[in-house]
Structures are given as structure tokens and as C-alpha cells.
């Protein structure tokens, strides 16, 4: 049961999808808390049988009591209810309007029957709603009893807006969307019955009636079957549709009734500025319907603007009212509250280009009523067109009410033309290729010569776009029916045919193809078989074109972005300058003293561990200094600070009297090996040394590459990639790299790692020779014996502090006693500390 109701709702919603949309501006500041909502039942005029009718109504008012506000009435679409409009009403109320929504009679929880926007019922109801607004003390008034009020609505609600504006001169502005100008003309275009849509229309109301049946307050007629057939249609409207469906024609009574429900009958009386929003994807109420209204209003001097959106009763984007940008809010803001003038530029949507963007192109032209006429030469012989008996098989251009997907699928399959131009049942005429790009907006016209085998003719004309490969597509799946009557069989008749109005771009190389078919699925056709002969009476296809500019008026530089970018660049520059000042401060020479001076270094890591805690020592020329300590004593951290890899929390390092900061120039006088070697694995040993030296930016001649390679002692391996090296080879290469350019200070962290005893002995002599040449070597190690044999001086660290400094000779000589080993001294200092793991 629940599912069935949901389905019925879905059908109804799908049928009048357009009706669910009421034009809405993009989201504005609306705080739901600031809107006061009130539901009420409003008594309106009774039905013809005297039954009283009350309408389900809601009023949304700004909760502030800042005096009076302009009012807006929102009208829903066919088969809908006021609930469809709640979100939009809240938004508008949040924007400072008093908004009234109500469910039209014959729908939802309102009473009464459907009279199809009849002046005596639905339009009178709307006037009653304006009375209601006039009685409120929070609504702005033009005069006593005459509130400042606008009406917006789509489809059924759109026509109501137009009709009410025509019949009630209190209306100050309207925004009717995707609606009709003349309902008879829309359902019987050129006298051909739009059967499929009409059936959907009535079925939708029946579905709505079935859905609402339980809650309807309307007493049903005792005639149960009639009731079921007509749902909540008023009996006269119901009979009208039944007759039309049976005969495929509108009789005089039907024409009269539909005329009364059409804005066309009251348009001369409309004075309210009107924003007409019409859908390009709409085979029910096409662009021609809004065009008629627009021209009548413009002729009468009423301010009118037209927008064509990428949507309509056949669905498509824009139906949600979010992306369409219909401008309804701006329209009301200007004409109800004196806001900025939105202008009357003609806005339209062109189908999305395939590459890069999925949204349709929103473009505008300065004036809706100014189009250029562009002629394209058409060619094609006279062709016989057979109309089959019973109208089957019928050409298929679209299936009304199924949304845009089917049409898109057919177009994408490339079979569109095969379905729409059945062999023998259609005539086709191709134009010359388009030479320069143009934007078509409106209805092309062509002069045809038509001969019929009988006294009348029913034909369907459509305008296709054929690309250079011969593939044809029908813009928006639209087709224009025509009926000729009272013609002499066998005599050619010259007819000006208006093709469907649409908007699209034509590119150079494309052609237009006019297809004239004897059948179309959406329309009723004569039952008897007949033959027509269709030819060109004139070889010109006339296209209405506009010169468009993108909405917003041409490419403009997004200024806020530009400002943001400028600020970001400024920030980057400031950050760079700050960094440079800090760096420069490091180049100031301090004093003139030892090769290496370490002064009160402190480093605390982020986890609170104090790795180095006030370390001071110095190394002089000619010294080989051993930085000694157990693992975790802070040796490596100190080494990293010596070359500016790590920032010290306090204290400083000076090399040759210059303070060491990250990247300080004096570091060129320092060669180092810290925590193992690092090489580019894909380069050979030789290429690695060259690449390292290249990074220093100094002349190759200063490097001493060959000497360094000898020290590395790699032999033939020097020309193999480093990734094939053993640990020891990498270590030797790392030491050689540190000695490139013979720096004044050589820092080696655990240099004997991975070396065999012979190599260690060799390294020892290399380091001694290096220091003997007046340079300085600092070696860190946890191997006490190693340091004792290699170094002239020693600094012993433990738990981040220096516990001993001095010359090795003096230390091991002791106080005139026998020679001691460093190990003994060290153990004496460190004691039984289990963390002091020192190996001999």
C-alpha cells in the first residue's frame, strides 16, 4: 500500500516535474529559526453544486517585527501541493518576504474539484489569497486592500500567475515558468491533438485522486464509475477531455473552455512586470507559448524579460530550480522592494559541449525581441509521403513525460533519424553546410509545397542537425505538427511551416535537415491511409539567430581570486625575507679562534628528551679529536648540529670563527660523514663523487677526485653502480666524499663501521696524515680502543653532557703512575651505569 502510494506520487511528480520547481534564486542567508510558519484552512468560493471548499494554506513570515514586508504567493504545479513549495517559501521568508503557499482546489488536502485554472474557480481563489494578505498587519500595502504582492509558479501555477495578474490588478510582479499561453493551442497545436501528453495529464490527476482519495473532504458523486474515471476533475472538464480523446479534435465548447483558462485571453489586461521562464526541453508547453505571451506583453508596454532554461516538462537540468538561475528573486526584489534593476536581457541555455564541461552554456543576448534572420539554402526533390491507415507504425521523436534520458539514449545510439524518418513515410531536405558558426534561438521557417490525396493533410516537421559524418541529431527531440484542411486533392498547396523553437549552436561544416513525416507517436493522426507529396516551394531555410555573450558579459578576470593570489605571493615573499634575515645573521664572524668551537649546545627533542645538554669543546689545527661516548650519549646529535642539519635550542657552533647556521658558506670548509654514507644508487662510485662535487657549485679542479678515489680504494668497482657495493665500500666512498676538496675540518661519525682491520689501519694513517697537514679531524666513536689509537685529543660524552676532555697522551699517562687505558678512565667516570655499553 505504501509502495503503491509512493509510486502514484512518483508518477504525479514525474508528470509535472516542471511544476515542482518554482523559480528560486541561489541560496541566500536564511535562518529557519527566523521564519514564522502558520497553517490555516481558507474558505473560498463553493463548487457549482454548492459544496463549500476550503484550501490548505501556509503562511511563512519573517519572525522579526520590523514592520511590513512585500508578499509573494507561490503556486504549485499540476498534481502537486503546497508541500512542494515549503523549502522555497522558507528561503524567501528568510529573505524578508511574507510568503503564502496553498494547495489548489482539487489537489492534496484542499477541497473542491479541478477546473484547469478557470477564472471562476482557481483564479478567484488566488484573489481570495491576496485578500488574506491584505488583512495581515505585516504586509506592505499599495493602498487599503491592495497588498504589495508577486506571484510565482511553474506550469499549472505559472498560468495561474498570469491569469491572476490579468484579472486582479492588485498583483505587482509575476514570474510564471514553463507554462502555456493558450491551452487549446498547446494541446491542439495547429489542430493536431497532442494525445500522449493529454492522456498523461488526465492520468496524473487520476493518480493524484487515488492517492488523496482517503483524505479528500470533497463529497463524491453517487455515480461511482464516473467518479473513478474523472477523479477530482470537475465533470465538465472531464467530459471535455473524454470527447477530445475520442475524436482527436477540440469542439467549440472545449475551445471556449480552454480559451478561458488561457493567459492569452487576459494578457491585454496584465500590467504587472513579468519574468517569463520557459523550458527548452519541453514538448508540452514549448518556447512558442512563452513567446506569444512575451510579445503581447511587450506590445502593451509591460516590462517583460524572457529566460530559456535547460529543462521543462521533458525534464533535464534546471528542474530543481537551483542551477537554472532564473532570476526570480532579483525580479521580485526590484519590482516589489525597489532593489537593483535586473534588466530585461534575454538569457538562454545552449546544450553542453561534450569536452570539458557538463553544464549547459548559459549565454545572453541584449534583447529578446531582436533576432537576425539567417538563410540557408535547402535542396531536395519532391517526395511522396505515405500516411498509413490507423497511424501505425508511427515515427518516434520522443516519448512525452519519460524525461530526457530516452531522447539522449536515442541520440547517443545514432538511430534517432531511423526512428523518426520512417522509409516511405517521410520527406527529407538537406541544407548546404554552415559556413560560419551561429547561435539559433527560436523557430526556423521553411516554405513547403504539399499535395494531398484527400482534402486535408496532417504532417510533422522537424529540424535536424547533421554533422560532417552524416550523423543526425534532433535538438531537444521536438517536432512541429501541422494540419491543412479544405484543400483540393492533387493540387499543390504552398505552406509556410514553422519548425519547433529551440536553441542550439551551429558549427561550420554542419548541415540542417528538414524532415517531414506523416506520423508521430505523441500525436493523433487521421485513421485513413493517404499519400502526400512534399516538396520545397522555396529553397531557403530561415533561421532566427542571436549574437550571444556568456552570462556576466564576456570574460572577466575573477578579481577576488586575483587578490587572494596576490596576498599569497606577498605572504610568500615576506616569509622568504624573514628566512633570509635569519640566514644572514649567521654569516657574521664571531671572534677569531679555533677551527671548531662548540659553545653550550643544547638540543631537546619534541618528546622532551634532552639529547645534548650544554656541550662545549673545541678542536684546534692539527688535532685528530675523538668524540667518545656510549650509544645514546648524544654524539650524532652533536655532529648534526655541527653542520647545521639540526637547530640547537641554545648555544652555538663556530667553524674558523664563523657561526654555523643551515647552509652557512663556511660549511664548504667542512667535510662530513654522518650516520653512514649516502649515495645515488643508480650512479657509479666515481659519478657519485662527481655529482656531489657538482652540487657544491665549485670548480672541478678543486675537488681532487682521483686522490679521493684512491682513498676509497674501490679498484674497478669505482665504475660500477653504487647499488652493487658492499657496506664497507660505501663507507669508504663516503669517507672519500667527505675529503673532496680537502676541507679544513673533517667530521667523521663512526668511520670504521663496516671496515676490516686492514682498512681500519689504512684509514688511521690517512687521518693522521690529514691532520699533520695542518687540518683538523673529528672522529666520533663508541670504540674506546679505536679512539685511543687514532686520536690526539678526546672529548667524552655521557647522557648528553661532556664528562672529560683532554689530550690522549696526558690522560693515559696518569698522575705519574703506570700507563692507563682509556677504558679504565671511562669506566671510572661512568661508573656502573648499565646504559654505558662501551666495547673495547
Amino acid at each position: 500500500m505504501r509502495a503503491a502510494r509512493a509510486f502514484a506520487a512518483w508518477v504525479a511528480a514525474g508528470l509535472v516535474a516542471g511544476a515542482l520547481v518554482v523559480p528560486a534564486g541561489s541560496a541566500r542567508a536564511d535562518d529557519p529559526g527566523s521564519v514564522h510558519e502558520q497553517d490555516l484552512q481558507v474558505l473560498v468560493g463553493p463548487e457549482v453544486d454548492g459544496t463549500t471548499v476550503s484550501l490548505d494554506t501556509s503562511v511563512f513570515a519573517p519572525a522579526d517585527d520590523a514592520g511590513r514586508h512585500a508578499a509573494i504567493v507561490l503556486a504549485h504545479g499540476f498534481g502537486g501541493s503546497k508541500d512542494d513549495l515549503t523549502d522555497q517559501a522558507r528561503e524567501l521568508a528568510g529573505d524578508g518576504y511574507v510568503v503564502l503557499t496553498y494547495t489548489a482546489r482539487g489537489f492534496g488536502d484542499s477541497g473542491g474539484l479541478i477546473h484547469l485554472d478557470s477564472p471562476d474557480y482557481e483564479v478567484a481563489d488566488a484573489s481570495r489569497m491576496i485578500d488574506l494578505l491584505a488583512q495581515r498587519d505585516d504586509v506592505e500595502m499599495d493602498a487599503p486592500g491592495d497588498p504589495v504582492v508577486g506571484i510565482a509558479g511553474a506550469s499549472y501555477g505559472g498560468a495561474l500567475a498570469l491569469l491572476t495578474a490579468g484579472l486582479d490588478d492588485r498583483v505587482d510582479a509575476i514570474v510564471p515558468a514553463i507554462t502555456w499561453n493558450d491551452l487549446g493551442q498547446a494541446l491542439f497545436p495547429d489542430g493536431v491533438f497532442k494525445q500522449w501528453w493529454a492522456s498523461l495529464f488526465t492520468q496524473g490527476a487520476l493518480a493524484a485522486a487515488a492517492r488523496d482519495g482517503g483524505s479528500s473532504k470533497q463529497e463524491r458523486s453517487p455515480d461511482g464509475l464516473e467518479d473513478l474515471l474523472c477523479g477530482r476533475f470537475a465533470p465538465d472538464v472531464c467530459r471535455l477531455f473524454q470527447r477530445a480523446t475520442r475524436t482527436g479534435r477540440a469542439d467549440a465548447a472545449a475551445r471556449r473552455y480552454l480559451r478561458a483558462s488561457s493567459p492569452a485571453s487576459v494578457v491585454d489586461d496584465i500590467t504587472a512586470p513579468t519574468l517569463l521562464v520557459q523550458g527548452e526541453q519541453d514538448s508540452l508547453f514549448g518556447l512558442d507559448q512563452a513567446d506569444r505571451t512575451a510579445r503581447a506583453l511587450a506590445d502593451a508596454g509591460v516590462p517583460v524579460a524572457v529566460r530559456w532554461i535547460d529543462g521543462g516538462h521533458d525534464g533535464g537540468a534546471g528542474l530543481t530550480g537551483q542551477s537554472a538561475g532564473t532570476g526570480a528573486e532579483d525580479w521580485f526584489d526590484h519590482y516589489l522592494r525597489g532593489g537593483p534593476d535586473p534588466g530585461t536581457a534575454f538569457r538562454l541555455a545552449l546544450p553542453a559541449p561534450a569536452l570539458g564541461a557538463t553544464d549547459p552554456d548559459e549565454v545572453q543576448a541584449p534583447d529578446y525581441f531582436e533576432r537576425d534572420l539567417t538563410g540557408l539554402r535547402l535542396g531536395g526533390r519532391d517526395q511522396p509521403v505515405l500516411a498509413p491507415a490507423g497511424g501505425e507504425p508511427a515515427a518516434i521523436t520522443s516519448i512525452p513525460g519519460t524525461g530526457p534520458l530516452l531522447g539522449q539514449a536515442v541520440t547517443a545510439s545514432g538511430q534517432g533519424l531511423a526512428l523518426a524518418a520512417l522509409p516511405g513515410q517521410s520527406a527529407t531536405f538537406d541544407s548546404e553546410p554552415v559556413r560560419s558558426p551561429m547561435t539559433v534561438a527560436g523557430a526556423p521557417t521553411v516554405q513547403l509545397s504539399i499535395t494531398s490525396s484527400t482534402t486535408d493533410a496532417v504532417l510533422f516537421a522537424s529540424a535536424w542537425i547533421v554533422d560532417a559524418d552524416g550523423r543526425a541529431s534532433l535538438p531537444r527531440q521536438l517536432v512541429a505538427p501541422m494540419r491543412l484542411s479544405g484543400i483540393v486533392p492533387g493540387a499543390a498547396q504552398r505552406v509556410e511551416v514553422t519548425l519547433p523553437a529551440s536553441a542550439y549552436r551551429l558549427e561550420p561544416g554542419q548541415r540542417m535537415r528538414v524532415v517531414v513525416s506523416a506520423t508521430d507517436l505523441g500525436f493523433a493522426v487521421p485513421d485513413d491511409a493517404r499519400v502526400y507529396r512534399v516538396g520545397l516551394a522555396d529553397s531557403t531555410l530561415t533561421l532566427p539567430t542571436v549574437r550571444t555573450v556568456p552570462v556576466g558579459g564576456g570574460p572577466s578576470v575573477p578579481v577576488p581570486l586575483l587578490v587572494a593570489l596576490g596576498l599569497a605571493v606577498l605572504l610568500a615573499l615576506v616569509a622568504g625575507l624573514v628566512g633570509r634575515r635569519r640566514a644572514r645573521s649567521g654569516t657574521v664572524p664571531v671572534g677569531n679562534a679555533a677551527v671548531l668551537e662548540v659553545d653550550g649546545l643544547v638540543k631537546e627533542y619534541r618528546n622532551g628528551f634532552r639529547a645534548v645538554d650544554g656541550v662545549s669543546w673545541r678542536a684546534e689545527r692539527g688535532q685528530v679529536l675523538g668524540l667518545l661516548g656510549p650509544n645514546g650519549a648524544g654524539k650524532t646529535t652533536t655532529m648534526r648540529m655541527l653542520v647545521g642539519l639540526i637547530r640547537s635550542d641554545s648555544g652555538e657552533v663556530r667553524v674558523l670563527g664563523q657561526r654555523v647556521t643551515p647552509g652557512a658558506p663556511v660549511l664548504r670548509e667542512v667535510g662530513c660523514l654522518i650516520e653512514g654514507p649516502g649515495h645515488l644508487p643508480h650512479l657509479t662510485g666515481r659519478a657519485n663523487l662527481a655529482a656531489y662535487w657538482a652540487a657544491t657549485g665549485r670548480p672541478v679542479a678543486e675537488a681532487g677526485l682521483e686522490e679521493a678515489l684512491q682513498i676509497a680504494d674501490l679498484g674497478a668497482a669505482a665504475d660500477r653502480p653504487v647499488r652493487s657495493y658492499s657496506h664497507g665500500m660505501r663507507q669508504r666512498l663516503g669517507i672519500a666524499q667527505a675529503m673532496l676538496g680537502l676541507p679544513e675540518l673533517l667530521l667523521l661519525d663512526e668511520p670504521t663501521n663496516g671496515l676490516d682491520p686492514t682498512q681500519i689501519r689504512g684509514l688511521r694513517s690517512v687521518l693522521q696524515r690529514y691532520a699533520d697537514a695542518g687540518r683538523t679531524v673529528v672522529v666520533s666513536s663508541h670504540l674506546l680502543g679505536e679512539v685511543e689509537q687514532t686520536c690526539t685529543h678526546v672529548v667524552v660524552m655521557h647522557r648528553g653532557r661532556v664528562v672529560l676532555t683532554g689530550a690522549v697522551d696526558e690522560l693515559v699517562a696518569g698522575d705519574g703512575e703506570a700507563r692507563r687505558h682509556l677504558e679504565e678512565i671511562f669506566m671510572g667516570l661512568v661508573g656502573d651505569d648499565p646504559t654505558a655499553q662501551v666495547t673495547r
Binding site: A354, E507, G579, G644, A691, T696
Partner: protein, 274 residues
Amino acid sequence: MTDPRRRALPLRAELRRQLTRRRTRVTAALLAALPLLLVGAFALGDDDPGAAPTFVDLAQVGAANLTVFTLYASAGFLLPVVVALVAGDAVPSEASWGTLRYLLTAPVPRGRLLRAKLFVAAASSLVVLVGLAAWTLLVGLVAYGGAGYRDPTGARLDWSAFAPRLLVSVLVLWVLLGFVAGLSFLVGVVTDAPLGAVGSAVLATVLSSILDSISALGSLRQALPTHYLFAWGQLLRPDPDVEEVLTGCLWSLLYATVLLTAAFWHFGRKDVLS
């Protein structure tokens, strides 16, 4: 004597460090194979004669169409990955080899190191893009001939109009990938992990693309870093929306500036522990 800080890590040296890498060569080979793969795949596929022209069909019209198709197909994912690799891996690869500390003590000032790496990464990305386009043009010329460009709406551009537009499109695409480069560079500098750098940029690209497909986000989506990733395609249309291209480029430059400033700021102050 010139300031050694200015001469440290010359661009030529950095370029050689990157070009000799196997990673660089494999990437280049893969990209060179892409148009060949596409041509091969098109040759295998059956032609459905009745179907409307899809973008894939159009790709076989000529060299121009194949090139645009290749760029279009790779702009969403492949090119972001390549750019993230080139930009994001530059610093962390040095860290993982253990060479970063030796560069810094050579000494290469930290700002200078990042500038050199960034410049080479940007230049390589541009070479990759231009090279891919030029190579695809050549492949297309051999496979499908030299017909002018035809866009999906049926509009045509002859070579004299197409060639300059393609060049500008490629340049615009390069700018539009600035976010990816900036993010991967920043993450690389912060984490020292090559995988983290490339992975985070790719992840951000994918995430942003997913968010971009949620229409409920409305105009917020314009700020997503990948929203304008295909704006370069505008320039190949008969009636380009220049504003979209400009907006996209500005967003990308804005992201890149902020991310790179953060990278330089962080790297100038960090403790190098690798």
C-alpha cells in the same frame, strides 16, 4: 669571489641527478607508449557502424584528435600521478638515499636546494606535457593522417588555428596541475617519504574529484583543486570560455603558492634527521 650560496646545486647538476634515475626513464617510456597503446586498442576494437560518434571514435579522425583525446584521457589521473612523482619525489628520494644531509652540508642552502628541485620538477613536468602532445601528434600523423581537429559538436579547426591553441592548452594544463605539484612537494618535504608525497597528492586528486561530482555542494565545488582540471579543453572549442580558464589557473596558482610557501617555510626550519 662569487657567493658560493648562489652557485650551489646548479640546475644542471640537479637535472643530471634526476635524469639519470631509472624512475625517470621508466616514466618517460610509459608515457611514450601511451599513444601507441591507444592506437593499438582502437585497432582491436570493433567498429559499430550505426553508433553516434563518441569521443573515442573522434580520436581516430586524425593526429589532432588523437592528441586531444590522449590529453583528455590522461588529465584526470595519469598526468597528476606523473606530476606528483616528479615534484613530490625530488626531496624525499634524496632523504631516503641519505644524500640529503650531504647536499645540505656541501653546503647547499636550504632555500636554494628547494628552488633548484622545484625548478627542475616544473620544467620536467612541462617537458613531459609538451613531449606527450608532440609525440602523440607524431604517432597520430602516422596512424590516422593529418586531418584538422574536429570537436564533438562537429566544429572544425584547421591546423593553423589548432596548433597554437593546443600549445596554449598544454601550458594551461601545466598550470592547472600546480596544485598537485605543490601538495606533493609539501608532503615530500614534511614527511621525507616518497610514497607519502606521491600518494597524498593522488589521494587528494581522487577525493577532490569525488566531491566535485556531488552536485549538492553547489558553488563550493569551484574551490575544489580539481574542479577546473579540464578547463584547458575550453581553448579547443570554437567559442572558448576564457573566464573559466583564467579562474582555473588562478585557483591552481593560489593553491600552489600557499602549499609551496608552506614547504619552503617548513624546510627552512626543520631538523634534518634523514
